[in-house]
Symmetry: D2
């Protein structure tokens, strides 16, 4: 959508906020195409996301809004645009394949600038789509050096987001801090069940009748970040671990794709390790 | 929620509508707890539903809003309150049972004033919940007389809504016109598939792998009214017609309950035979 | 289905088992209506469930089958029949209400002999369906005495199964041992996520996007027994704890009903804390 | 699974069938790994699918089984193997992309021998996966000639199955007859709702709250063939036709992939325009 801006607002709730916000926009003849809001009741915090149509002076609108809104207001306004991303992988192809096909046909709402793998098994596949692939072997370096090289590879592309498409290395707090709220991971379980390694093995041993997948924003605690999307599908006693894994792959790629659509269109707020999603 | 009013607005869309609406409310110090909006793109029609907190002068607010909004505006404002309903049934108990239990524990957001049946098989069951049951036998009268008697029975309760909880008689246009957009039906298929009688038999013969249920507002055309909620569940070749019917009952009651929750809380607009739902 | 017997077999797998089993039945002119099997690959254990039609001499068939099958064989054969059950509740009505309505219309495939509550809030409701209600107040006795009284109340009905329909007291190992694999519980989370008390509060705090319910067989470890059925439904940031609880009630009763249908029709084997289900 | 054979049997049901079948296999020391059966009650027809392990003389087993089974028996026995397929497309890439990625990583249980398109827009994409693409322009020929050329292109590959991955030309009865029960189609609606062209437009106009996809075997009647798999997903008033189409693409590819997994592993019987599926 051309000439469209996204406006995100977070502030303490009080009477008249909507009138304040829309009053400023009205005076500047800005058309509000979509407006979604939420007041978080425990902290009394107001969140809203607006899509604005027509030419507008971003700095002016920002200033006027900040003048009329509470002192603590966090506000972001920018043109709606495709995001630049870098994808990290290990050996599994299903999420990467899904992203590359969507990207190839311009359906991802993002530009995949590069793929980085700690193995090279997905190099040939990635390059078939004319996307550069960086192989950084985690066995050649200690963890710090490995991460430094990954960070270097990432930063040359200045991505808006980093997507962990089944990247099976645990990232250090240092790494995560460099890209705060900018790393999206797909975990192959219905979190918080089966945190950590081998969730399908654990699911099999527990005898669950559903398996799940969870896309979340990465923070310092393994598999503990704010959840964006989750899905489950039925399994039964005929599913061994391999059968669960295969069934799970189907929802992993779908859950990740759904989450990225929300992330890339600026539809997510994070608060207290939870997400508020305007879809 | 005490002291809560619901405000529903439908009008032609134009720039500044939200500022106009919230400006009026702000001037009267009315707190907007929730505000949901939608602009229907084909007709450029604006819809919104607001929950307002605090005491307010309904007539004054209404007048001021109408003064500031487009000439064609349809506006409704009233206190949030439980609705009065009459339930029509034939022989099947699953939807009625679900409604009576919810009502008994005050979870229906409605008062069931009476149940009317064209058979009496559900009379004893209904009365166990201290709800009056009217048996009006459709075999004793011609259709016109039958409907007149049902209308009489209904009207003594002045219900806000009439719920067809598996009422298996087709209502005349005359009947429907008396209660425009006030009759809610549950149909035992995924409409528009399998309109009319015996949908499970038809579903069985077609060999579908999902069966569905649809709650809709009743209009003059059989099973053609605006759809509120729908669900499907898997079936397979081991389901005969009876098995499909039993499986279907589970979603029929759930689909009807979900729809009624939306209807009774004034969350539905109808436009061009479709529903706009703010949930 | 009259004159129908259920045959359940568990034994070490080996070549020719099916030929052995069906050979015996064929020689006695017994019609196998349905036969379902599974070989558990880690332990190489064979499970099967057969529905047999026509009159048969249970002891004779049992003897001949045991003669032809491996020495470790566990075998059960009995007429298909409705089960007798006792239901335990605390204060919440949604699961009990669902069970009582199904029972009233003879859809539960079980006879509810009595309801036992540690509060009396569901007494009047239960009695509307002509089912005896025993109030055993857990505050009047210590845990041992309380459980002894509950066991006494249960045992006068000689139930096949005990259904915990939101019974919020933790049962001792002693209690559970008395009714091995005969107690069915509904837990209000997607186990193993949110074991123990207040799962909706925990789900809310974790910010999950799905909530779940799990029906399982009770063993000594809290919420760790073999899982029968599970479901999840979507939630979002607009669901507070109360909203999650209300949404969850809808699947709790449905998950429990699905599980009981399987249990009451002898469709479940337990092995290594997991269920094998022939549905 | 090496040394695995699939045995499919269809015949009139009678007492002792399972004993007859497993008796033959037992005498030849053939291990039955999995055995699934179904008796269709309206026609009293017996269906079963067995997975047999170990070396076996196909012709001998076939002869002995036919000798012991009813005269009308249809029986198929062959080694479990990957199928050869040809994929037909028009312009949409989502189903093709999904199939090509699965095929590339050897997850499709089939060899894609070629892709045929009535447009050439997917040629470059297909060839990136080293799969030949035949462009046969339907505008250059009349329907008969067009189909003759497509048939020629298909037949040079001797495929087991033809997959219509959003192929938007209606096939003649003549074409379908050449590949009886060998053509699999994905239709972008929940059949039988919205048969024919533009189902998303029709779904939008009807105001449905779920949209669906259906994979089916193609017969002479448009969108009327035996259904293999179906799925639905929720939509609401914010979905315009384009939004429904995008949402629908997600389930179209998943429904087609699920169906093909069943087809390629010989898990489907067709009877009276319905499928019996042993999964």
């Amino acid at each position: 959508m051309k000439d469209c801006h996204i406006l995100l607002i977070k502030c303490a709730d009080r009477q008249g906020l909507i009138a304040n916000i829309t009053g400023v926009l009205f005076r500047h003849s800005i058309n509000v195409v979509v407006m979604k809001e939420f007041v978080e009741p425990e902290t009394n915090t107001y969140f809203s996301r607006l899509e604005l149509l027509g030419p507008l002076d971003v700095e002016l609108i920002k200033t006027e809004l900040l003048n009329t809104l509470p002192a603590d207001t966090k506000l972001m306004i920018h043109p709606r645009r495709k995001k630049d991303i870098v994808v990290l992988v290990t050996k599994e192809h299903h999420c990467l394949g899904d992203l590359l096909v969507r990207h190839h046909f311009d359906e991802l709402h993002a530009n995949i600038k590069a793929v980085i793998g700690n193995y090279d098994v997905l190099k040939n596949f990635t390059e078939r789509f004319d996307i550069p692939f960086h192989h950084i072997d985690h066995e050649l370096y200690d963890k710090e050096e490995f991460e430094a090289r990954v960070i270097d590879a990432i930063q040359q592309y200045h991505p808006d987001y980093i997507v962990l498409a089944k990247f099976m290395r645990i990232l250090s707090g240092n790494f995560v801090a460099k890209f705060e709220e900018k790393i999206i991971n797909i975990h192959h379980s219905f979190l918080p069940a089966f945190i950590g390694a081998n969730p399908y093995r654990k699911a099999y041993e527990r005898g669950v009748k559903l398996i799940g997948a969870t896309a979340h924003i990465v923070n310092n605690d393994l598999d503990e970040g704010p959840i964006i999307t989750q899905k489950t599908i039925p399994v039964d006693h005929e599913h061994d671990v391999k059968g669960m894994r295969e069934a799970g792959h189907e929802i992993e790629k779908s859950v990740l794709a759904d989450a990225l659509k929300l992330v890339f269109d600026d539809r997510i707020f994070v608060m207290n390790n939870k997400t508020i999603i305007f879809n």
